[in-house]
Subunit: 268 residues, 2 copies
């Protein structure tokens, strides 16, 4: 692991690091915020379409709250990158759009292994390099990253003590943000659809979701289907439908405090 | 004035607007955060080299605190822009590097009127469009914007009720970030040097400054000279020399709460 930069931030350290990932076969960059008085607990923040490790690290406003709670926050990239890595002209396919699945199809199969990256390779690197507690992990994410948080939590039950999402894509089987990409990567959508996974497997961790009612991508999120599934499956959840908020980081940062507090409580 | 976007943020509205500026002769873009319960008080946030209206708006973390304090925050651009506007290949001269002065020299004289823009044109537009109180203005800024905050406050005594700066350039006459640019724009540096202005005119508003002791641009800031001038002139100030912090927004956001609270107190 190589240190690209470290900046003091709210008394802790906002670092940017790179490492060679075995599963993606590429060099991967990630951000990690280490609070001034770490408790060992760690929150994974999965970002949305077009984002790198950097966007949430600079815009989501997590550090002030993580510093108070003693929580480390990891900001992974959203896909493998590089000239040798498959890509597409569309912003929502290929580099910057990994959708947190392991691709098995076409040109994507070689490097796009984001599920394994987030749940195996990156944790291995992080827990080897930093004094953090693998028994106290939580996951959150925004948009495509909210899809990642929900689906990885359900695919890897027991790994995350709490789960949250900001404006998650949560019924991708019927969304332009999901169906084309998951089909291109894996040939199917159902196993990667939070609504269907919830009906199929349930979720054994506390859940918090916030979505803006003025989200300009509302039609792509599938919020209604996911809420219906929560009700049908009697899954405990704290759900905020937020008047006037859109899909931007102005929305995410407005509710970041509540999400960090939620995770801190369950990681204590 | 044209609305480019409005996003709900901490219960208020983060807007981006554009207007035709008479003094710069260009279309100018600015951000304005309106808190949910505005008191009418307004804080001007002047950004640093290479920044547009957007950087601080998305990275400085001012909105959460401004929302609590009922403070509006304006995020102006750092220079006129456009194909017809003079520029230079250097990142620290021309577009993105207005240095908050009115240029009188060379190709810059036509559009680079940032002192007049920040103190005349933009306030006129803002106070016409928003229900804010011209009697309750404060100013802050980062790096080149800290230079702007300090010098504009001293050149326009009585305008700002309180003044603060994050890692300001405060002795530009002897800095690579100041001497070449102020000379190119105005043929001189002394009238635009916060240290010299302080000795010459003093400052009649409460002052807060924070600078990181690991600032990678420490040599360009002139912190020592300015602190010496504060002492010599017996100017009241709250000064933070912050262990381990660098020049980034990770530093700015870490101390944003203290600056907003400082201004809110003096604008109350």
């Amino acid at each position: 692991m190589k240190t690209l930069s470290e900046s003091r931030c709210f008394g802790g350290t906002q670092g940017v690091y790179s490492h060679a990932s075995e599963v993606t076969g590429t060099q991967m960059t990630f951000g990690l915020y280490m609070p001034p008085h770490p408790t060992g607990a760690v929150l994974w923040y999965l970002s949305g379409l077009t984002c790198t490790h950097e966007n949430a690290m600079t815009k989501a406003g997590m550090q002030a709250l993580a510093a108070e709670a003693g929580l480390a926050v990891v900001f992974p990239d959203t896909s493998p990158r590089g000239d040798a890595v498959a890509d597409d002209d569309a912003f929502d396919l290929g580099q910057g759009a990994g959708f947190y699945v392991d691709a098995t199809k076409g040109p994507w199969a070689q490097h796009f292994k984001m599920e394994s990256y987030i749940t195996e390779d990156l944790p291995e690197t992080v827990f080897a390099a930093f004094d953090l507690d693998p028994e106290r992990q939580a996951v959150t994410g925004h948009s495509m990253g909210g899809h990642g948080a929900l689906t990885l939590a359900m695919k890897h039950q027991g790994r995350y003590r709490s789960v949250s999402a900001f404006a998650p894509i949560c019924n991708p089987s019927v969304s332009d943000w999901g169906r084309p990409q998951l089909t291109a990567y894996t040939g199917t959508t159902e196993p990667h659809d939070a609504t269907l996974l919830l009906e199929d497997r349930g979720l054994d961790a506390p859940l918090m979701i916030d979505t803006g009612l003025s989200d300009q991508f509302w039609d792509k999120l599938g919020t209604e289907a996911f809420l219906a599934a929560l009700v049908r499956t009697r899954t405990p959840a704290e759900i905020g439908l937020r008047d006037g908020y859109d899909h931007s980081y102005f929305f995410v940062s407005s509710f970041a405090a509540a999400h960090v507090a939620f995770h801190a409580e369950h990681l204590a």
